[in-house]
Symmetry: C2
């Protein structure tokens, strides 16, 4: 088996995979050394699971516009009534636990950056889908391909972003029908981290797989996960034809999807946290099980996204409820035993002010407490997901590096307990020059790239800059220092040919 | 016994305790419904405890300038060598676990606001000690008595601040020698929540006890905890004469102190988290045990404060390390079995920007995960503790209300799981008008007093205000709406007489 992999690796490097970088600081993903937070007891968890089973049996899920899927589900023992599909107690859980891998590797074109998704691992990826961008340098406006490419470069430069993501902002200057091609090419060209495929239609998913085959080699893609893509449930309780088409293509190609309910409490689901958990569990199990019926053993992630709502304005809001729901969902996922995606650095703020980081810092902390394995929206998310902020992108990335350190926990051994240092220094003296400090001070503490801990006088002398202004300087410095990862010219050319050809077949539709 | 308490209560209300307010929304403190986060395993915890015991035995603690204390410790079995005191393994733990109460009530002059400290309870109190204040309305400057009184009023108006605290800012326009008198009177006059006594000298501690006796009645104070005060260890490993003097007075009066090591990693302690825990445990056990030798059973809190340091500038910094240390210290405290004080909404920022709330939100989240029972610095802390921000005070208080909700956990029962609502609404429809939502929408979600979740367009239309500006408007609105709690004129007069008399005896010293 190792021989096979080794041959594949060589084949792959002939085509598009970059050589491993000698980057000692690179951590391709985080493996947690601290436990998750268990906020529900076993009785509570069992009740959520029972009520999810009742929901699946007594109400069911609509699988719309796809007779093939309805047949697959009927064959697996589900009760199909028109497009409504009902599942007996335990059926979906049994399918998932029989077939779905507990963890898997998504390959990056730079093998040193491949990510392991599942178990105690966490992978941080940029925000996904905002049509707008903003920065201190320009007014909030629709995103462009150039913006997307800048954000891909910033993600590439950020050690704590393990994954290049997908639509970090919508490149709205490109026709909708062709965006996925330029988006995929930009991730490949400007980064060597793993990336996401398109998921808004079967055709775009098929393009994503073909592009991966050019990059990684067809053989390699046939036998390895090279794409992780986002299939959203149309909550409540609907999977529609375009999402099902993408799901089928990825599952058959052995490429990962994350099946994510999108629950706005009070709108696309009930107001209560317990009900959001019930619904989220039922919806994600329906999609995850389907992938395993289509291709048993294909890599897959469950997903969960819930938000509170401002009952006066109808706007999504960031309060305690989504944090609590997220943490509890992690417990449900550990009982189910599949990798799962959730969380992020969300904020409803319109500028990078105190609110923005109050909301984002709290939610990303909940994300690591929940043990989410794949975290889209870990950097840059603004306005409840409508906008990507360049400054927040690097500020979130800095905060993620702090979360990484938190996940590393505390080393306890005799040397770290420092009794010899206490003996050397004694009461009332300082530790600045002692041996224990001298041998550690350079790496003793996490260093933020944004936070300013100077005295008031030093800070004022340096221009009284706020964090947003410092973040603005930082992302421009990162862009200045950006050097693109090498890409085999033959692969680059082959990608160009495929994309040009596909573009010539597609209409210039902006709708 | 209940008769005795009842008589005392009546006596008290004759003097200074306000009648209970009919305030249904008042939660006098939080009782957690979610577990703490245990990040160290039993082996790690046992090693920290063993190394703390070795530190106490092989290095020891200096108790400086107080021969009485040295004699008390020697009589209890410690080895006294000059001012250096060494303790055999387990001695301090045994004294603490034999005598110190696991929880106690600190009484407020409004009985409805008395707080229970210890166990699963958390009490949030304002920041303590900053010489500076700042606001959008004025340049950063030294604090005044007027500033302090404004902050006391804001704390009184904030439901999520359960305690009035102490020196929310230093009233630097009052001579140092007299500040404690005006500070205590201001807490009594402008709030009816519990408050802290002075602790910078024995004389000031004695004044605090006398003032409490006037307010609550002497009998009541003799038999109940009416003050909680802060006794800092002069880390590393020193308790000095002024702190010992205050500790003795409070312990003998049956009033609570919190014995808090102040560990700046790399300066007043080693750089490693494990060593900070060893030192913190040893130092706080030394002080806590002393209170129990002086007055067995007197209420007491352990304490812990550690901060990272910027090794280039020497400035305290807020990184992952103090967060990890705080959470682990909570585990040590649950094993020791005493109430403890730690955490807060710290930030090193100089303005209320994104950094300020990134740091503060993360640390207060760690604080609730740690299970700290008494949280000084829960609101207003700025510049690493040097400054109190009026805007951050109300923004932190808003964030505390979110933390309170988080501590409440998730209710799971059939009704909350909402199967009937799922049946009523069905796939693809919304929950805005269904019965389950209609019966809950008014209280379904936590509502922030600061966060803005409007659309970009609504927000822009309303003036594009940032969170800091909204916080500025909020604290001024709160001040406008402030109504002082009633104070018995006879008590007010008695307090005035005591304070005037003491002031006439004290020099006008500003040093």
């Amino acid at each position: 088996m190792s021989k096979v992999i080794s041959r594949r690796r060589r084949t792959a490097s002939k085509v598009g995979r970059a050589r491993p970088v000698a980057a000692s600081r690179v951590r391709p993903y985080v493996t947690r050394a601290i436990p998750c937070l268990d906020i529900l007891d076993d009785d509570g968890l069992a009740m959520i699971e029972r009520e999810a089973d009742r929901l699946l049996k007594e109400v069911g899920i609509d699988f719309r516009g796809d007779t093939e899927v309805l047949k697959i589900l009927a064959d697996a023992g589900a009760t199909v009534d028109g497009e409504r599909v009902r599942f007996d107690e335990g059926l979906l859980r049994s399918i998932i636990q029989t077939h779905a891998p507990a963890e898997f590797i998504q390959h990056a074109r730079n093998p040193a950056r491949s990510v392991k998704i599942g178990g105690k691992n966490t992978v941080f990826a940029p925000t996904y889908g905002p049509p707008f961008v903003c920065s201190l340098d320009f007014e909030r406006r629709y995103g462009t391909l150039e913006d997307l490419q800048i954000l891909i470069k910033l993600a590439y430069m950020s050690d704590s972003l393990h994954h290049s993501g997908g639509i970090i902002c919508e490149p709205t200057d490109i026709p909708v029908s062709k965006r996925h091609l330029d988006t995929l090419y930009s991730h490949i060209k400007y980064s060597d981290k793993a990336f996401m495929g398109a998921a808004t239609s079967g055709e775009r998913a098929a393009d994503s797989v073909e592009i991966a085959r050019i990059l990684f080699g067809a053989d390699f893609v046939d036998n390895n996960c090279c794409l992780a893509s986002l299939v959203n449930v149309n909550s409540p309780l609907v999977l529609d034809d375009s999402m099902l088409a993408a799901l089928k293509i990825y599952a058959r190609a052995g490429q990962a999807v994350t099946v994510t309910p999108f629950i706005i409490a009070g709108a696309t689901g009930p107001t209560t946290i317990a009900a959001n958990l019930v619904q989220g569990l039922a919806e994600t199990m329906a999609g995850v099980a389907l992938t395993q019926l289509i291709n048993p053993g294909t890599p897959v992630m469950a997903g969960f996204l819930s938000t509170a709502i401002n009952m006066r304005s109808g706007a999504p809001s960031r309060g305690p409820e989504p944090n609590l729901a997220l943490i509890a969902f992690g417990q449900l996922m550990r009982r189910l035993g599949v990798p799962w995606r959730a969380g992020g650095s969300f904020s409803t703020s319109k500028i990078l002010d105190a609110q923005a980081m109050q909301e984002a810092s709290t939610f990303i902390y909940s994300t690591i407490l929940a043990g989410a394995n794949f975290v889209i929206h870990a950097a840059g998310s603004f306005e409840g997901g409508l906008c990507t902020s360049f400054e927040k992108f690097v500020m979130d990335a800095d905060n993620l590096s702090m979360m990484e350190r938190m996940l590393g926990g505390i080393t306890v051994n005799k040397d770290e307990c420092a009794l010899e240092a206490f003996k050397e220094v004694g009461p009332g003296e300082h530790y600045l020059g002692c041996q224990h400090t001298m041998s550690r001070y350079q790496d003793a503490f996490h260093v933020s790239t944004i936070a300013n801990s100077d005295s008031f006088e030093q800070w004022k002398e340096a221009g009284s800059l706020d964090a947003t202004t410092r973040a603005n300087h930082l992302w421009k410095k990162m862009l200045d220092e950006y050097v693109p990862p090498a890409l085999d010219p033959a692969v680059d050319e082959a990608l160009g040919e495929y994309i040009d050809n596909r573009k010539s077949q597609l209409p210039d539709s902006f709708a």
